[in-house]
Symmetry: C3
Subunit: 206 residues, 3 copies
């Protein structure tokens, strides 16, 4: 089997994370009773906000969603379809499903962030911060637009902390020269697992 | 008559939009009982916020208001003059006048945004998004600073949607090789008209 | 005595301002009952937010905290230590001490901002605005994240205005060819003094 090139793999992971992010954005915007414009914008900000902030901080252009307008268009049409179906869809989607999708998104985004930061030769601690920023700032910007104190800063759940440990796992695995594939998938899976375990057992850090 | 060059025309439109934006920012900040610093900052953010966000996303520098410090200075002195006159001015300015000025600003900003994005060779859907962002994010950032859920995301009025259709009108007119002047003014006028019509008939989209 | 080079002096001032900013961020986040992630992030945003916004507007990279990851690490460990000690530390820190530390930070940040903007050949009014932005937007972003209308825009205290006058003092001193050292320290001291005097006598500007 031919090895998947590093950049292509990161792109694949980022695409999966974006779709999961948009999904969680839709659900939040619907809960806030926003109109079509709000639903699209909040979904877009939740999906692309973390990565966009990272790219602005790293001064990386063009932005992912500028290069791949198909994702913006996809979210646009999903918003058109989803907005009138609010009540029906809300009943179909359980709290558990949202948490699981969000945990997968956290892992994928954070690992995409730390690997992009390492590709841009950031120092290690900054690279781990960029991973966490990519993982959590979609949700932070969503909460700011929705006029709430960001959930991730106040609920005491180890959400950002899971991403932080996973980013350092990624850095450690890379240091010991594991394959890029393994580093990326193992770290993303680690973050998702850690998030789901801490959620299941209702761990809190104050 | 000598034809007006494209970039000069865009600049003229952007200047008009900025003055209208600052005007609407003054009125909002006065309503929130902000002090002089708040009035200036909110007027400045409302006037330049959308274009600044667009330029950061496109990585375009220097920013418009850095190149033309005279507009920043103008808003500064307007804030100095306007702030002590809050009550008098508020009685003089009717709801209708604010909506009309805002509709003109929306058209001018959105068209300036989509044409700048096309000049930067953005793909079409992204260019239309940049137009909408330029048109509405001054107001969005104003509402975030004023600690409110952005009006444009929740009131169901087709505000961003007017800008969106106007941006696609601009793209279509350009595709059929109409003159730059005609594309810009026709699209801006279309957006302003559409906004005023939907406001007059109290249309809502949910 | 060998003269201190200009850039090195600005860097030294910026470092001092960052430590003071993080300190004030800790106190605010603790007051909001945020968790560890919130305390670190709010301290980080308060310390680096103004300078980061300035650097994004000027398109200056790498960012200060990317070049000097030791400050991010320092704030990280301070957050780890400070968060569990909330109550004890809150009783030890008086209102007066916070105001004084904040006034010193305001002076240092604003002067660092205006001198960086001048080094980037900004026009004078924009340079003074960059100074004020560097001085106040750490606190503005902190208040936005904490879901409050930024204090600096609504309390009528001449906070941003002190920074504004100090930035013009810096520009004037430079115009008359005073040494870089003198320009920087005199302007920073002027801002701190002016802020403390206006606070002591409870001056308000509406």
């Amino acid at each position: 089997m031919k090895p998947i090139p590093h950049q292509a793999l990161i792109t694949t992971i980022e695409i999966m994370a974006i779709l999961v992010g948009a999904f969680s954005g839709f659900i939040e915007a619907r809960r806030k009773r926003m109109d079509l414009v709000g639903v699209f914008t909040v979904a877009f900000i939740t999906a692309f906000g973390g990565g966009t902030l990272r790219d602005i901080l790293l001064d990386k252009r063009p932005l992912f969603w500028v290069l791949h307008q198909e994702y913006a268009i996809l979210i646009f049409f999903l918003a058109l379809v989803a907005t009138p179906l609010i009540r029906t869809l809300r009943q179909m989607v359980s709290e558990r499903l949202i948490v699981i999708a969000d945990a997968i998104g956290l892992g994928l985004f954070a690992v995409a962030g730390v690997s992009q930061a390492q590709a841009a030769h950031m120092p290690l601690f900054i690279a781990s911060m960029m991973g966490v920023i990519t993982g959590i700032f979609g949700g932070v910007l969503r909460d700011i637009v929705c006029n709430e104190v960001p959930m991730v800063f106040r609920d005491g759940q180890p959400y950002a902390i899971c991403a932080f440990f996973g980013c350092w796992l990624f850095i450690a695995l890379q240091y010991f020269h594991f394959s890029d594939d393994f580093c990326l998938w193992a770290s993303a899976a680690f973050i998702t697992m850690l998030r789901l375990i801490t959620w299941k057992f209702e761990l809190r850090i104050r």
